[in-house]
Symmetry: C2
Subunit: 337 residues, 2 copies
DNA sequence: AATTTTGCAACAATCGATTGCATAACACGG
DNA sequence: CCGTGTTATGCAATCGATTGTTGCAAAATT
């Protein structure tokens, strides 16, 4: 122990108890190799000096980290802030699920400049596994790492020909039911707000296209493929509304965040929702039924998603080669459509 | 290296390079004690085998963790979810600020059952410092730990007689300007929604009381001291509205989340806002200008707050005994008042 | 040519725990 | 009283890095 008499490691405590460090280690782990009397004495001593063994040293020795890395790759949207409501909602659910399993959550916002960002985390030895919230435009990097590192799961699209473990909703289906809903509402001209660089969004767009084609409305879709974040969506949409010749009567937003900005922009342009334009979002974030008008949207069950992510991850940590999970999206009709 | 020829540690790499582990360590750290030629060769080799030194081992040796613990103590509100918008917003800002300083963020939701929860994190050796988002009802525990552990900062109230380092707005002032604003709007009967068990909230309530007393309206305040979370606030407020004889004409909510629930409950009871009742929230979370009607509120600048928290924390890690920071709250008038 | 200086790299201790193996202490039956 | 068997503890290697000290050879100095 140091000059102040603080007990800093098991060796100090061992000296105090008159035993060897190994005995202390075993005693604190409640090992039956140590006599009950000795164990009690040592544990009591530890409590008195409120000593707790160093977790990092322990982890180094037993080769585990006790933490899961949660990464938010912001590849295609460098301006995107971590406090984006979607990420935050997901993160909250993950934190709960991981805490329940006795693991810590190591959070990193990542702006993948070099293709090494994921390796760096995986090989750092600080985490037992990694959860990606979104794939961004980093599919190739993710695939490459996933091929050699089992405990890696991602929220996002389950892409054909790709092997990494993912959990996400059926985006094509989601896009399709959104479009179909607008068709049913009588819309004939459509706009899609969102950047198809992200694979989930590309799939949602495809779903829309399929539904429109089926209804013989194949060429009635315009696309605003801007990088849409909470901050940038509103001006982008505003400008688009200014510039466009004919405002469509059905708008499909790639996320609720974008939809909310659209609602505000439309209101500012004096466009009535749902009178003149019908709007559908995607995600069903908590705020979706707080907007004006409340937002119709395609619901993804994020709590269930987080549960699956964590469950799959721990099975992979245990060595199992799990498959992916695709959740069923569900239309939630509110006032905006 | 193992049977597959993977390079797992500097010793493997040293063997490959025909040098000693120490030399590899220095080479990877770009130390000038190693000849440039040797350094280049080793770094090249490391790249080829994409080897990265184990961070945990490094941290153990140099006695630092490279991570900051961010804890959300949920003492008085066991039902409160980590995905509460306030926490999430704060967390987002913290993640950004910490990432900029090259530190990871170790997130823990804590339900303080035993008084040892904070010690456990602090003494675990996994973090270089701790940021608490909120003090909950754990002031005594926090004070005790803070007295021996310097790198600890908390978002919350700066309490008289308490010594731990805190960053927060002047809650009394905030409560006061909220109440004064309602008085100016002509309100004469008031209600406060929020549980004064949390010190910030107690201070906000005091501020209200002071303003009312000064205006000679000292006994016109009723209090709904329920544990108010996003989920529980709405039913609690609804019930309160059912039971109460006379609905007040000025409502001060202890947070925007509570205010939002109040708005919804009032609407459902057919009460016009701001026609019959004026409502003021607290925080100015991003959603505050998305509610119907948009929410008047007392703004706390959370981005600045997060910046201060991180700044103070790193100064404390460096050994400086910093003071606390009190931010000026600011009234934001929107439609609800 | 002899001596000092300089530059590079190896050696070994260290961070703080865990754990297989060796051993000491003790009890007990024969 | 000794051999055998438990039981409880100590010893020392180990996890994977970092770093002060030391040793050696080549370069610089006289």
């Amino acid at each position: 122990m140091d000059s102040q008499g603080r007990v800093r490691n098991i060796t100090d405590l061992a000296r105090l108890a008159g035993v060897s460090p190994g005995t202390v280690s075993r005693a604190l782990a409640d090992s039956h190799l140590i006599a009950k009397k000795t164990r009690d004495k040592i544990q009591q001593l530890a409590r008195e000096h409120d000593f707790r063994p160093n977790v990092m040293a322990r982890n180094l020795r037993i080769k585990r980290a006790g933490a899961i890395g949660v990464l938010i790759p912001l590849g295609h949207e460098t301006g995107q802030h971590i406090s984006d409501p979607f990420f935050m909602t997901m993160l909250g659910h993950l934190a709960d699920a991981l805490t329940e399993r006795g693991h810590d959550l190591l959070l990193s916002r990542v702006i993948p400049k070099d293709p090494d960002w994921l390796n760096r985390v995986v090989d750092s030895g600080r985490v037992d596994g990694v959860i990606l919230i979104g794939q961004s435009d980093q599919i190739d990097v993710i695939e490459k790492v996933a091929s050699r590192y089992l405990p890696l799961v991602a929220w996002g699209a389950n892409l054909p020909g790709k092997n990494h473990c993912s959990v996400g909703s059926d985006n094509r289906k989601g896009g399709q039911i959104a479009a179909q809903h607008l068709i049913d509402r009588g819309c004939r001209n459509f706009a899609f707000f969102g950047d198809p660089v992200a694979p989930e969004i590309a799939e949602r767009l495809e779903g829309c296209r399929a539904a429109l084609a089926l209804a013989g409305l194949g060429d009635s879709l315009s696309i605003l493929p801007a990088h849409l974040t909470a901050e940038t969506a509103h001006p982008a949409i505003s400008k688009w509304l200014d510039d466009t010749q004919s405002i469509p009567n059905g708008i499909i937003a790639a996320s609720d965040v974008i939809a909310m900005s659209a609602l505000r922009a439309l209101a500012e342009h004096g466009v009535k929702v749902p009178g003149q334009v019908h709007v559908v979002g995607y995600d069903d974030l908590p705020f979706a039924n707080q907007t004006v008008p409340t937002l119709s949207t395609v619901r993804q069950d994020l709590a269930a998603g987080a549960g699956h992510l964590v469950d799959l991850l721990f099975r992979r940590i245990a060595g199992e080669e799990t498959g992916s999970v695709v959740l069923k999206p569900e239309l939630v009709v509110r006032q905006s459509s």
